[in-house]
């Protein structure tokens, strides 16, 4: 399968990457090779097989609906943000 420049631009948009032209070209080639490799699943018949999404043996691990002490408080978390002001995380204009 051929990966077009349009495909790469679409995947870059989904991934939130601002790729340079050079990077888009080189990643396009890599992605094409990877997709070619994973496409070998085409030859496998899985018609009546159920999918497995996780290998953990338990489902619905419940806990009480109670607020537990947290490992980090608001100020510690805000201190991690590249910019903050008046107890809020600061970002540039949205539009």
């Amino acid at each position: 399968m051929k990966i077009t420049r349009e495909d790469i631009n679409h995947l870059a948009e989904l991934s939130n990457f601002s790729l340079s032209d050079e990077e888009a070209t080189s990643l396009g080639k890599d992605l094409e090779n990877i997709i070619k490799y994973i496409s070998q699943l085409d030859e496998l018949d899985v018609k009546d097989v159920e999918p497995t999404y996780q290998v953990f043996e338990m489902e619905n691990v419940w806990r009480e609906d109670k607020i537990l002490p947290q490992d980090a408080d608001r100020e510690q978390l805000l201190a991690l943000a590249p910019e903050s002001q008046e107890h809020q995380i600061k970002v540039p204009k949205v539009l």
Partner: protein
């Protein structure tokens, strides 16, 4: 492993480890050293010992922490630019458990950025070199941790294994590396890669040391809903899914005890004479794509096990050849979701060039991720996108079921499986880094284990004629971890253990 005592102080152990770390600087093992904190903790342990107070099972033992484990000591960067400024306010559960027993972290080890890679060449902080040959890769993604143990800097190091990231570097550097059953050790506070296959584990110098480390760190954690009840320390339960030992089918042979080094290895609960076991060998892995050194090693080990009274059976597992394709669909899909949180807003690196919110995301992510991170995120979006979901993601999850069934059937015929870890010993730095598919092919024998969630242990088995390390991996059914480590201790040559 050597713990601190009245005669051997924690400070002397930590100082020796830090000195060795500095002498090995050219290997680029560590992203950061934790000198000041480590020495302070060592002094506290020595004071306790002097006062006759009780100390932990790892008192004063220096260890290395893979750089994707969150702790308040140093920056947790996952060897990436996007997390370079990240100083965690929380500590991983596994790290808390190790430290509660007195272990002392002396430094954070280099890895492929976000654990994406098989060589530790994809690190923002440069390549880690192989312990035996500086022109070759350390393996990956936990390359720094493997070399830290192989060079004798630390007694043990932490690792994460999503598709072989502990077992393959252990094999490349001649140490033990263990990936337990999925859910054995809490993943809370470890940078997420692929949540359905991520496993916490260790590098060490013996199966006995690994046993101690798993027994300390395993168990249910309310902060990680995918942790199993502590089967490891409770000896398993009736419905624990471990198949009955296959050995009784052997007839007279099983009666004769097998000579072992278990007692010398000091593994808790190990017995001096072990029952004969049935060992499965995967037919499909014996082919020309596997180096002759590794095939010879496997043949030799099989002969050795047979000579000791164990039985070998050949396993036909044709679905395993699809495991790598399944892995490179399922794992990128999970990566694309897990890594979307790194957006330059709440923590980590933010691009200075961004003039609006959209650019904060796209420029921070574009600058902050390495090429291999981008490949995997984009592949993930591809296999999950409408139009391709059924052909790739759904099909891969169905194929995953076939792979799991093959292991389940295999473990009806044998107790453990013995296979190579990777098709080749450590390759040259730069040899595969520009060809992602050829790099991925190095994972062909390690990834099926993660898809099935079963435990896998790398045991060092010797060297090539050029002195490169060779390892083999032992696999068992889910929750057979303790038996697997016991068996490894039983079959390990005593002199290899020292």
């Amino acid at each position: 492993m050597q713990i601190a005592t009245k005669d051997i102080s924690a400070v002397s152990l930590v100082k020796a480890a830090l000195d060795k770390a500095k002498r090995c600087e050219n290997y680029n093992i560590f992203v950061s050293l934790n000198e000041e904190n480590a020495l302070k903790k060592a002094e506290e342990i020595d004071k306790k010992i002097a006062a006759g107070e009780k100390v932990g099972r790892l008192a004063g033992v220096p260890y290395a922490l893979k750089d994707n484990f969150l702790s308040k000591e140093g920056n947790t960067t996952a060897s990436s630019k996007i997390l370079e400024p990240f100083k965690s306010p929380i500590t991983a559960t596994s790290v808390e458990k190790l430290e509660a027993e007195g272990a002392i972290m002396i430094g954070r080890t280099n890895m492929d950025s976000f654990a994406h890679g098989s060589s530790t060449e994809n690190s923002y902080f440069g390549v880690t070199k192989n312990a035996k040959d500086e022109t070759r890769v350390a393996g990956g993604s936990s390359g720094g941790s493997a070399v830290a143990v192989a060079k004798g800097i630390v007694e043990f190091a932490t690792g994460t294994d999503t598709g072989g990231s502990i077992r393959q570097p252990a094999s490349f550097n001649g140490v033990y590396g263990f990936k337990p059953t999925y859910g054995t050790i809490s993943r809370y506070g470890v940078v997420a890669m692929a949540s359905s296959t991520d496993c916490i584990g260790f590098f060490a110098k013996s199966a006995a040391d690994l046993d101690l480390l798993i027994s300390i760190t395993s168990g249910q954690d309310p902060k990680d809903m995918t942790t199993l009840p502590d089967y490891y320390n409770s000896g398993g339960s009736a419905n624990d899914g471990i198949s009955q030992p296959c050995a009784p089918k052997l007839g007279a042979q099983q009666a004769s005890p097998v000579e072992t080094g278990a007692r010398e290895a000091g593994l808790a609960n190990a017995v001096v004479s072990a029952p004969a076991r049935v060992i499965g060998v995967i037919k499909d892995f014996d082919n020309d794509a596997v180096s002759s050194d590794i095939r010879q090693t496997l043949t030799d080990k099989i002969a050795e096990l047979e000579a000791k009274g164990h039985k070998i059976v050949e396993l036909d597992m044709p679905a395993l050849k699809y495991a790598l394709a399944v892995y490179y669909i399922v794992v990128p899909a999970e990566i694309s979701s897990n890594l979307s949180r790194h957006d330059g807003i709440r923590y980590g690196y933010r691009s200075k060039d961004a003039t609006n919110l959209g650019e904060v995301y796209s420029k921070s992510r574009n600058d902050g991720f390495m090429s291999e991170n981008k490949r995997r995120i984009m592949i993930g979006h591809f296999v999950l996108s409408s139009g391709w979901y059924d052909a790739y993601y759904l099909k891969a999850q169905k194929a995953r079921t076939l792979i799991i069934k093959e292991y389940e059937n295999a473990f009806k015929k044998c107790d453990f499986i013995l296979t190579p870890v990777s098709p080749n010993p450590a390759f040259k730095i730069g040899e595969k880094v520009n060809n992602p598919v050829s790099m991925y092919l190095e994972d062909v024998m390690s990834v099926p284990v993660n898809l099935a969630g079963i435990p896998g242990l790398t045991i060092p088995v010797g060297e090539t004629k050029d002195g490169l390390s060779l390892g083999l991996q032992l696999l068992g059914p889910r929750r057979s971890d303790k038996k697997l480590l016991q068996f490894a201790a039983e079959i390990t040559n005593i002199k290899e253990n020292k």
